[in-house]
């Protein structure tokens, strides 16, 4: 249990003059379930984007599954699966086609591909909707399909960026028990961000609290509570990050969404 699957050293990510992630360092062990907690705009998603090669770090070093994203992007990309915070399915394709697309990109061999897709879609209970276009899916259904897709290629590491938003408690429960099972069976490392304290406390083996781009505490839920002398993780979190409500700046994507809504689809 001692080999590190993710190593982050002095990672900084700046957008122009705004520092989203400010000199953070942490390690995650293979097979660990690790949670990233933080207020809106604290740098959680940015960290995930840097770890998953979508963004380039401004400075700092990352090693993921013994591979360096600077020199071996594809090696890194093969090592993980990801469920993004925003939907990332193709609305004009069917659920099955989206899965197939993923399976081909991740080079899942043809002879096991269809079986694997079927298994995963059955797990998220979407098999009977396999031929429906994604645009007919509800938010929760999309989420479930994305989770199934993220697991499709048996990744060594699974990144989940606020995966349970929009899911009802039943689905959330079902999903986590499955993920914990895969975590045990396949030693899949799970790195997730969340706003639900009880989720972090229940699921994660270790928790990092990030605020203003800095990691302010890292440890088990008990350790964090002890450190702040509080009775719940939520209190510990609030004590460390304060009570001020944060706003995320609208991203260009959000702006475009509004724009497009106003203009209608081409």
């Amino acid at each position: 249990m001692n080999n590190k699957i993710i190593e982050v050293n002095n990672l900084t990510k700046k957008f122009d003059d705004f520092t989203a992630v400010n000199d953070i360092s942490f390690d995650i062990k293979e097979g660990e379930i690790f949670a990233f907690l933080g207020p809106n705009g604290a740098g959680k998603s940015t960290t995930i984007k840097v770890l998953t090669t979508i963004l380039k770090p401004t400075t700092g070093k990352i090693v993921l599954n013994e591979k360096n994203p600077e020199t071996d992007k594809n090696g890194v990309r093969k090592s993980f699966g990801i469920v993004f915070q925003d939907p990332s399915l193709d609305d004009d394709l069917t659920a099955y086609e989206n899965m197939q697309f993923h399976a081909v990109l991740y080079k899942i061999p043809g002879n096991i591909r269809n079986k694997r897709i079927e298994d995963m879609m059955k797990f998220v209970e979407l098999w009977d909707r396999k031929d429906s276009l994604i645009k007919t899916f509800s938010g929760g259904m999309k989420r479930r399909l994305e989770i199934a897709r993220g697991l499709l290629h048996h990744p060594k590491i699974l990144f989940l960026d606020e995966p349970t938003i929009g899911l009802d408690p039943q689905t959330r429960n079902h999903m986590w028990s499955y993920l914990q099972n895969v975590n045990k069976k396949e030693r899949m490392t799970i790195f997730f961000t969340t706003h639900y304290m009880e989720e972090a406390q229940k699921i994660a083996q270790r928790i990092a609290i990030i605020d203003f781009g800095k990691i302010i505490a890292i440890g088990t839920a008990d350790e964090l509570m002890k450190k702040t002398n509080t009775k719940s993780l939520e209190d510990a979190f609030l004590k460390m990050t304060g009570h001020v409500i944060r706003d995320e700046e609208a991203s260009s994507t959000d702006r475009m969404r509004t724009h497009r809504r106003a203009w209608g689809r081409r």
């Binding site: 080999n3 984007k49 998953t52 090669t53 979508i54 963004l55 380039k56 594809n74 090696g75 990309r77 093969k78 090592s79 993980f80 990801i82 993004f84 925003d86 939907p87 990332s88 399915l89 193709d90 609305d91 004009d92 394709l93 086609e97 197939q100 697309f101 993923h102 081909v104 990109l105 991740y106 080079k107 899942i108 061999p109 096991i112 290629h153 048996h154 990744p155 060594k156 069976k185 396949e186 030693r187 260009s252 994507t253 702006r255 475009m256 969404r257 724009h259 497009r260 203009w263 081409r266």
Partner: protein, 269 residues
């Protein structure tokens, strides 16, 4: 440690190891085709403009053209209008990367363990195929309006010209999309790039007897060579000859694919 490794009850793709990046190109191509075939409204809507141009210009200027001793204008205009719709369709399918970014799907392709070049190539060939199909449909439209090719045996060569032009302009769309954050600049692109490419290409008028400055600009426009090549194949009229047309189209396409993949490689989402 070894013991733990044995407990893993799955095949990780990284251990399968084979490097098959061709199927990534194929699946991205397939995606474009499926999306195109599914959006009937887009298909039908995109026929309106060429039809309008054929009728308005073809019949509007027809008599003037004939009085000037140039023959039947619709014969001259047909290949130009076909290439116009190839231009528009191709640039738009290229620009679609921006929609993918907006709907989040782009991220799925950006984190995939496939060289970005293959992703870009698959999309581009897919977009070019769509634009070529569109070109064929508009070709049929011109036949209905009264256009008659001289030699049907040269249709395959015409198809090559159309596909090359489609590749070229899809790559151009990719380049634009890689540089643009969102659709705010779309009007600028339309008015200052796509429209000029069309109007300054010789799609509507003969290249002979143009003012020198105009001639200079027209010769810089890659669509000029697409239109000229199409005329060579369809109505046996050409300013530059098919070899020159094809060579220029190929060279510009290769350069644009190069730039496009360089920029696509650097996309952050």
């Amino acid at each position: 440690m070894k013991k733990q490794a044995q407990q893993i009850e799955c095949v990780r793709i990284e251990e399968l190891g084979e490097e098959d990046n061709m199927s990534a190109i194929y699946i991205l191509w397939l995606r474009q085709i499926k999306k195109y075939l599914r959006s009937r409204s887009r298909l039908i809507g995109s026929l309106g403009q060429p039809l309008l141009f054929l009728l308005a210009f073809g019949f509007g200027f027809g008599s003037i053209y004939q009085k000037a001793g140039q023959g039947i204008y619709i014969q001259f205009l047909g290949p130009g209008i076909i290439l116009m719709s190839v231009l528009f369709t191709a640039v738009f399918t290229g620009i679609e990367i921006i929609w993918d970014r907006q709907f989040g799907f782009l991220k799925e392709t950006l984190v995939a363990p496939v060289p970005r070049f293959n992703i870009m190539l698959g999309r581009t060939i897919g977009g070019a195929t769509v634009a070529t199909i569109q070109g064929i449909i508009v070709f049929i439209l011109t036949l209905i309006v009264g256009f008659r090719p001289n030699n049907f045996a040269l249709i395959p060569l015409w198809l090559i010209v159309v596909f090359l032009s489609a590749l070229l302009f899809t790559s151009l769309g990719t380049i634009i999309a890689s540089l643009m954050e969102d659709m705010q600049g779309f009007q600028i692109i339309m008015n200052f790039l796509v429209m000029p490419i069309f109007f300054l290409s010789g799609a509507l008028f003969p290249l002979k007897g143009l003012p020198p400055i105009m001639e200079f600009i027209v010769k810089f426009d890659p669509l000029t060579y697409g239109v000229d090549g199409a005329r060579w194949a369809l109505i046996s009229k050409s300013e530059f000859g098919i070899l020159k047309d094809l060579s220029i189209l190929i060279i510009v396409t290769v350069i644009l694919i190069g730039i496009g993949s360089y920029l696509f490689e650097r996309i952050e989402a």
